[in-house]
Amino acid sequence: MRKRWLLLLTGTLALVGSLIVGPAATAKSEAPAAGTVIIGHDQEPTTLNFYISEGNLYATSLAMSPVLVGGMIYNDKAKLIPVLFDGEPKILKAEPLTVTFSYKANAKWSDGRQITGNDFLATYRTIMNPNWDITSREGWEDIASVKVKGKTVTVTWKKGKAYAAWDALVASSPVPAHKVAGQNFNDLWRDSIDIASGPFKFLSRQKGTQLVLARNDAYTAGPKAKLDRIVFRYIPSTPSIFQALQSGEIQVTEPQPQLQIVDIRKNPRFKVQSGPGYFWEHMDIQFGPKGHPALKQKYIRQALIQGINRAQVREALYVRPGLVGSVKELPVLQSHIFKPFEQYYQPNWGIWKFSQRNVIATLKKGGCTGGPDVPTANNDKIWTCPGVGKLSFRFTTTSGNQLRALTFEIAQKQLRSVGIELVPRFGPAGTVFGQVLPSGDWDIFMFTWVGGPTSSATSFSLYGCGGDQNYMNYCNKKASDLLKKAQFTPDPNERAKLLNQAEKIMAQDVMSIPMYVRPGFLINATSVKGPILNPTQQGSTWNAETWTVSA
């Protein structure tokens, strides 16, 4: 009896064992085909069409920008460099804004057809077709005419509607006129795409797992890609991405700023690049009727910003743990409009230094009572100000983000010691952005704006009176007019001057507290050479044609 059972048991165990060990013994150690680089990413593009709202994901542009390449692309210095254009586009006339550009003589689609001005025209018409779910039509809406002559295009904007970021607009990836004609653009390129203008072309896709690009041998507008293939592997959780990276299942990844990166930094098998990007973290203040009345008082907002040690926050979050190399890499953000690495950056918010004594003095001057006389740890005396009640504010942000939680903790502690209370109201991203933020039913809201090299021009939408994304309901007529003017000023110097003027006014108002620019990261196994971090939404594949891989 006993023997039989033992036999059965060992039999089963042997079966399971062979299942486990068998593949290990027989399967070869995975040597991906020569010239294949595997990129791990936490989000999978649903459609491959990045013009429509479903493709409005970073993951889509990461995978598709080497396939449908732009007339110009952003390089690692956030500067537009020609790819399909034969040179930089030129302004022919400032008012109404008229510009011209040409595609390279050897710019061809992967099926051999020439890329011409008609493709740009098709792009314009597609974007302006109200039937298609185009993510953004900004700038396109104000175009008065598009004239095509062979490979040369001349675009004219409506009078007084000169689009500030016109160069980025005309540099958009052209769509192939012969492929979009008569097609339902919403359904086009949903699961595959049979055309390419860039150094790579679509090869295959296994939904939920991977997307494979192969070298486009018909690409002549620039140097041919050195790699045979790029494979995007979709691994939805960041920890699993790091596991896969360490175990050699992926070679390149662009992780969220997560603390896991510290570990990889110490590992000689990997190269970690970090640098500032266009995502900036900030705390918005509500001016609308559903916000706390105290926050409508300028002196209280000024007290608030002086009560938060912004330098310490970014140091505790990024610098000390080793996420970024030094304080220099991540300066305190003193502008809502330009980033510290941008040419026109001015530290307009530098007027507000961390000073707990100033907070108390300011509040006392405003007639507030009941707070502490000196900053005290474990203080539980909270100020009450005349006509606006107790300084206890709801603090909303997304849940599940360790760095934001810690930012909150630090700010809460610092403000508490000077008699201002923050009450956490965290929620999932879908809810806080979908419901809470637009409702205006919040006091202080910490989040990140996803910007880009051209977003400074459209600051009106965020801070102008009645701006589309002005969820704070902030309105300063003077600043608003300057922002509006800047939006239609094509000359960058002139525009920056207007924007900085406006921001000096806004900094006095303290309508929002800038915190820091969220650094971007790019990790690659040292066997892969060539990846360079790109601060824009262009994606780390911007120079993928130069990448090489060694076994």
Partner: protein, 353 residues
């Protein structure tokens, strides 16, 4: 989560009569564990037990309890587990006094430090003392688990008692409601509810329900069903018994009969189920927090500690290992206690071998 095999409350419906009679079928998976493996000698079915259901309460109750206590304390693993749990609960309750640091205090000179005398569990990637974080996480997780257990026991007992005592239409209605909860895809309800109600404090009129309590409420809402069926079964079998008739004849109100006369007979299964719910709640809450749908920062919970500390590779092993071990320890201890309680309070359920 769903990966866990079903416990009693997921068993097919309409089987409570069989379940009770056959004894072995509709018990929670964990509840049945180790009934033979414990160091308990064969327990003679003492005379006190025979009387359990049939007699008046007062006098026999004492002897019943005495027996139960005796049996429980003979169950060495259960006693040891009880000590462990008490110690952990003590640490959790006095977290502020016991923890060497606050759970968000950064020690910027010791970032991601390995376990040492200064930081026995090491520090995390922001230089926060991990022992303190685990203690505060334990506090939240234990609090939620006990809250869920008590609340779902109250709901389950009330519904089961009313249904079983009154029978008829009331019984039918209440049990159909129980079935509804049972047939709901538990995972879907749990995750959707947690995602859309449990992520931030909710306001109900003037009361603000904190996020942690919300998670507890959602769990409790799904956990009471098994107990309701058990309690109903006992009530159904006892409501026609002589001592109930006698009480009724002497003019006792329904409430009095339910609470004073019948309920004491269900204490065994109630206590056992209650204990096991604590273990389930700990595990489910940890999984929820791990997926990002559970307790939200700034509140620390064991599940989210693991999620945050999960770096990949063995680089920072202590960040994943310690909170995980604490969860295993609690769940193990509670299961052992539940097992001991079952042997002590519900000896008829034991399989004689």
């Amino acid at each position: 989560m769903t990966e866990r095999p079903p416990s009693a409350d997921q068993l097919p419906e309409d089987r409570e009569e069989v379940g009770i009679a056959a004894g072995g079928v509709s018990r929670p998976a964990a509840a049945r564990l180790g009934s033979g493996a414990v160091a308990l000698p064969e327990e003679p079915t003492g005379p006190g037990l025979e009387l359990t259901y049939e007699s008046g309460v007062e006098l026999k109750a004492r002897s019943q309890w005495a027996y139960a206590r005796m049996r429980f304390f003979r169950h060495r693993l259960a006693v040891a587990s009880l000590l462990v749990l008490v110690a952990l609960a003590f640490v959790a309750i006095f977290a502020k006094q016991v923890a060497p640091h606050g759970f968000n205090d950064q020690d910027l000179l010791n970032i991601a430090a390995k376990p040492s005398w200064k930081h026995p569990f090491g520090t995390d990637l922001l230089g926060r003392d991990y022992l303190s974080r685990v203690i505060f996480g334990l506090r939240t997780s234990l609090w939620v688990a006990f809250f869920v257990s008590i609340l779902s026991t109250l709901i389950g007992t009330a519904i089961g008692a009313v249904a079983g005592y009154y029978g008829g239409v009331i019984d039918n209605l209440l049990m159909r409601f129980t079935d509804l909860i049972l047939t709901l895809p538990g995972l879907a309800v749990l995750l959707t509810a947690a995602a859309f109600l449990g992520q931030e404090a909710q306001r109900v009129g003037p009361i603000t329900i904190s996020q942690t309590v919300m998670i507890g409420l959602i769990l409790a809402f799904l956990f009471w069903t098994g107990l309701a069926r058990i309690v109903r079964g006992v009530f159904l079998s006892l409501r026609e018994k002589e001592f109930v008739e006698a009480a009724r004849a002497s003019g006792a109100s329904d409430l009095r009969i339910i609470v004073r006369h019948i309920l004491p007979n269900t204490v065994g299964p109630i206590v056992v189920t209650m204990t096991l719910i604590v273990a389930t709640a700990i595990l489910v809450e940890a999984a929820l927090s791990f997926l990002g749908f559970g307790i939200q920062p700034p509140n620390p919970a064991l599940g989210s500690l693991i999620a945050d500390g999960n770096v990949g590779g063995l680089g920072f092993w202590w960040l994943v290992t310690f909170p995980g071990l604490v969860i295993v320890l609690i769940a193990l201890a509670i299961n052992f206690i539940g097992d001991g309680l079952r042997d002590a309070l519900d000896p008829t359920q034991r399989i004689r071998a």
